[in-house]
Amino acid sequence: MAEKKQKTPKRERMKAYAPSKTLKFTKSMTNKKSKKAAKDGRRRKSGPHLPSSFLREFGLQKPIPSSSDKGEVEEEIEDLYEYEEALPEEETKKNRRFDPVENYEYELPDDFEDENVPSDDDEHEPSDEDDGVADGEGDVADASEKHVRMLQSITGLPAEAFKDKEKKDVTLSGVQGDFGGGQISINDLLDPLHGKAGYSKLRKRLHQLEKTPMAVQAPLPKVERDKLERKVTYEQSKKEMTKWEPLVKRNREAPTLYLGEDIDLGVHTVGTIAAEHTPRTEFERKMAALIGDPVVMEAHSKDGARLLELNKVSIEDVRDRQNHLAKMRSLLFRHEMKAKHIKNIKSKTYHRILKKERQKRASTEIDMDPEVAKELAIKQEFKRAEERMTLKHKNSSKWAKRILKRGFKAQDDGTRTAIAEQLQQHALLTRKINSMNENSSSDETSDDDSNELSPGSDSEGVFKLLNKAKDKTIKVMEEEDEMPKTGVFALPFMERSLKKQREAAHEEACLALQEYESSLGKLEGDEAGPSSPGKRSGRRVFVGAKSRTMTFSTEEPENHDDNDSEGEVEVREEENEHKVENGLSEVQIRSALVPDDADRGQEAIFKDFDDIVKNAGSKTTYEVAIFASDTWKKMGGKNPADNIKEKSAVADNLVLSSQNSVGQDDNNDSDSDLEMVDGFLSSHPKSDDYKLPSQDELIHRAFAGDDVVMEFEKEKMDVLNEENPEPEKPVLLPGWGQWTHIQQKRGIPSIITEEHEKAKRKREEALKKRKDAHLKNVIISEKIDKKAEKLHAKNLPFPYTSKEAYEQSIRMPIGPDYNPAISIRALNRPAVIKRAGVIINPIKYEDIDPYGKSEDSKEPKHKRQKKPNAKKTQFAGRKVSKKS
């Protein structure tokens, strides 16, 4: 403890003498280290010499200590003092004397002054020292007393004898301590340097220093010091961070950032895969053993000559192999010869037998395995049953129905064949059923089916139908003749009524029959007709007349008791039809018919003529139309309707129609006449006297009818009204007060009128503000087009500074349809390109010139990107050269 006391003041002095010493090592000291150092120091002290208190204790235990020993101890202390002085200061220091510092290498800037540096020593040292001194003295006193007592007990001498010596020692040590520390001045230190270079300079500086008062400023409070330190730290780290700026800027401004490009993923080659392969199965292991045989490997490793040696085969082996091959070859040859021989045999029976045998063999194979055969049969039967159940292939599917609905003929060949195929399949699957059913099925149905199925031509079908209908009606008529002779129906009045009914029915039947007849006849005519109009008409007349006469001859007996009107009508119908065909034929018909119909009297003929007159105009036009369109069959279909109409018309007005028609004709004539006159009149004055009209007059005359200006103004007004609608005029409101006339008395409430006024004013202002307010002849619509609005950005997007810039940016299309393949990649490249599954490391510092072009800085990356392209272009170039 004593030496410590001595040591500390001296060190301080040293510091005071050398103020310019840097803080390098004091700063770079960690908390931990300082602790350790303190411990070490203590330990070291206890090594070569123990602290006095310990010594005392030792002394108490070991009765050795003598004066000489003590002297030695003191000497040692002295030595140790020197030794300790030589130690690095930081090691000797106590804990918390210096700030904890992590980094040893760090150097403070040069301009950092020592005065400001906080030093814990300054603050705390004095008190520590005092304590230490007090403690030390107390300790020493204590120890010495004990020592004296101990000595006394050993030697038996009085305590005073020992005490004196002890005191002397203490003083001595004190003197020595003083000598070592307090008295040494800087001049003493300088003395050894006397005569060396720079000595005078140093002395001069020393004098200067001595002259100026050495007032050291009081250190700043810790808080302030910390703050300063932090400020420096922040400045420093700011500077560090700023160096990244150009790099970050470059990355941000780059159109595309390539990440994870520099990592080599290690593409697998066949070699690497093969190297990783480990044999698993027995075979693989065998192979591996053979391949990995060191002998073989060695053989492979050189030029391969050794492989040949390894490849040696014994003579026996070769001979065996040759023999084997020869045998095989001869067998093959024999087989071939046999086949040829069989082929050469011309007998058909032989071949047939052969074939049968082959088939038999195949069938026996099936037979041999009865299960297979059974299964096959079951399968077949199942299919058949299924087909019978579902009629799957008989146009029952949705698809087939749809096709049939649309018309079989409208389909293309493929569909048609598909349908046919389906039907055939159906037939195949149901053949057995048909063959069984054939006996039971009636002829009629089959006939009907065949009729229905065979479509034939339309006319044929119609013909048959008509025939059938006719047959049936005749049959019914025949049946009706037989009357019931017994029961209620036998009563006289019933009989009468029945008869009436029957007659009515008969009439109807006859009518129908005739109709059938007529249409039949017409059909025949149609079928025969297509050669030439003149011929056709003639022939038809003949046929028609013939058929009609034939029918009448059959019906005449029955018809006679009824009135003739029907027959006449019938005849007229016939005639009308022919009229439709041709005017000329009409006349022929008349001439031909007249002798036949003589008994009917003149009336009918006259009627007919009236008809002709009446129908003339319309009929002819109709005809023309028909001829033009060339649709023969349609007309046949339409005729009955026409006929019916005509029937009624004829019955109603016989004479009137003719009169009308005549009147119409007259009218027409007069009209045409007038027109003629008109045309003549208009052309007349032109030729008389002609004067060239002026431009205005011409325009005036040209637009005489329409007032364009007015129209435009009206249009504009409409637009204005539409865009800024006029406020509605306030009216008396239905509701409260109306009943008692209060509203009428008071008038419209002021609020409403005011509002109206306001709205009016607003509208006027709006109208004034319009762009076309002062443009008389212009309408500028201010209506917003909602559809177009969708295609405009609402406000200018952020990075763009003007509308033009934004529009320019989206002007050029970027799609592959509008750009060549070379430029598409660049146009569509995303902002960040990273590879899937590649770890992206944080940014690494690289020096870039912040003022250099960004292109240059990006070059390495682009190079990497473009390498394959470059290769390709080279390749392409080669190709081109080859071609040329």
Partner: protein
């Protein structure tokens, strides 16, 4: 006489190999195609719609913890590995590809609050409320099958007991140091049982620490006294303190821009700061409706992911005011930690419901290998969409997100509150002397002061 005929050279129309594509000759004369803008607009619209249709971000959940997941860390050296620590002291290593636990690291007595992995991916550091820091060897599970390794227990290489409970830990990028935070900030070395350095500035607990990946000697902490403190290991001293009105729960440095970091604040916003200019935030990212619990940057540095107490995960652009993506599921509870995967393709979230969830970073991205033509097509659609993103229709479709009802309601409520506040402020301003109420920009409003 000149006769014009169509002539084709056979060379242009014959393929060299049968696999070659037939050449298509196009006339790129713009006069021939006058509708290209309309066509591309329609394509953009369709692309936007398709993107919405294909937006299926949720990949899968990883369950196994029996308490809330409190922290996660990704293995910087291995894409598939992610570590998660839970409130019951369980640490698990997950295989993202199989979504299965690879192995467990038992030992912590209390909640695990911090996890970090050294840059080489060999050492895992964990710390927790039981005042211990544990170092673990990360098993090389690539060669092991997951079933047998899940059973055997891993023993820590070292356990350091310290004076206070820990709240977080982070490892220096590429270095040998890691920092733990709790009552103070301690810097540890892998090989020392005691911290090599200790910092204390203020008496409050430090909640989060994050090293700067670009500048390995720089790190930032956020403490419960609402401050963010920057430290520099080179000077072995703190550098600057920023005090905000509310606490920051977490922060993350931009790996591509070493001066920028983003702090996840309690006031539902994230604040991006330039560490050199702390007097104002560079950007305020708002959209969450509750405190933001964690933030992590994508390795591309272009976006970051946040997890919030409102049960959602959001993805922001590094300079975007509003989120570009929101992820939520019915079953996901409070999100405590989020991480971006090392290749920037996935997002992992750990939440109160004891599950880790794996999401796609781009919701509609097609995973797996794309054919070159597919990729080109996708690139084109993206480019077109990006080009017409300002047009109202496209914008509407791209921005539309379906929100859970409570979040939707909370957002509207928040909006009305902000609006009311704004109106009140406006009125106050109107009734006070001009100039007596200086207008403070939004980016500065939440900052109280910057302390030296």
């Amino acid at each position: 006489m000149k006769v014009k005929i169509i002539s084709r050279s056979t060379d242009d129309f014959t393929r060299e190999r049968s696999q070659d594509l037939q050449k298509v000759f196009r006339n790129y004369d713009p006069n021939l195609r006058s509708q290209e803008k309309g066509v591309e607009y329609t394509r953009a619209l369709n692309a936007a719609k398709l993107e919405k249709i294909f937006a299926r971000p949720f990949v899968g959940a990883m369950d196994g913890h029996i308490d809330a997941v409190s922290c996660m860390t990704k293995n910087p050296n291995h894409l598939k590995g992610i570590f998660s620590g839970s409130m019951d002291g369980d640490i698990r290593l997950w295989d993202l590809a199989n979504r299965r636990t690879v192995c467990q690291f038992p030992g912590h007595q209390g909640a695990v609050r911090g996890l970090t992995v050294s840059t080489d991916g060999q050492t895992l550091v964990s710390c927790g409320t039981d005042c211990t820091v544990r170092l673990w060897n990360v098993p090389d599970y690539r060669n092991k099958s997951s079933s047998d390794s899940a059973g055997n227990a891993v023993v820590p290489i070292a356990v350091y007991v310290w004076k206070h409970a820990f709240w977080g830990v982070d490892h220096q990028w590429g270095g040998n140091l890691f920092a733990t935070v709790g009552a103070q900030v301690d810097i540890w070395d892998h090989n020392r049982s005691e911290p090599v350095n200790t910092f204390k500035w203020g008496n409050d607990t430090v909640m989060a620490v994050r090293f700067n990946p670009g500048e390995p000697d720089l790190f930032a902490t956020s403490s419960s006294d609402r401050s963010i403190i920057l430290f520099d290991l080179r000077m072995s001293s703190p550098a600057r303190k920023l005090i905000m009105k509310t606490r920051c729960n977490s922060l993350s440095w931009n790996p591509m821009e070493p001066m920028n970091f983003t702090a996840a604040n309690e006031d539902t916003n994230c604040y991006s700061y330039d560490a050199r200019k702390l007097d104002e935030a560079k950007c305020v990212h708002g959209d969450h409706v509750s405190a933001v619990m964690d933030v992590d940057y994508s390795p591309t540095g272009r976006e970051f992911v946040t997890g919030s107490y409102d049960r959602t995960v959001r993805i922001f652009n590094y300079n975007g005011d509003h989120s570009k993506e929101i992820y939520h599921t019915k079953r996901m509870q409070r999100v405590f930690c989020v991480k971006y995967s090392c290749d920037g393709t996935y997002v992992i979230s750990g939440s109160d419901d004891t599950n880790l969830r794996l999401w796609k970073a781009k919701a509609s991205e097609q995973l797996g290998v794309l054919l070159p033509r597919e990729r080109r097509k996708q690139e084109y659609l993206d480019a077109v969409k990006d080009r017409y993103k300002h047009l109202p229709e496209v914008k509407r479709i791209v921005r539309h997100r379906h929100l859970p009802k409570p979040i939707y309601k909370a957002a509207t409520l928040r909006r009305t509150m902000i609006e009311a506040e704004r109106r009140k402020d406006q009125r106050r301003r109107a009734h006070s002397a001009p100039g007596s109420m200086p207008v403070k920009p939004f980016r500065k409003r939440r900052i109280i002061k910057e302390e030296e």
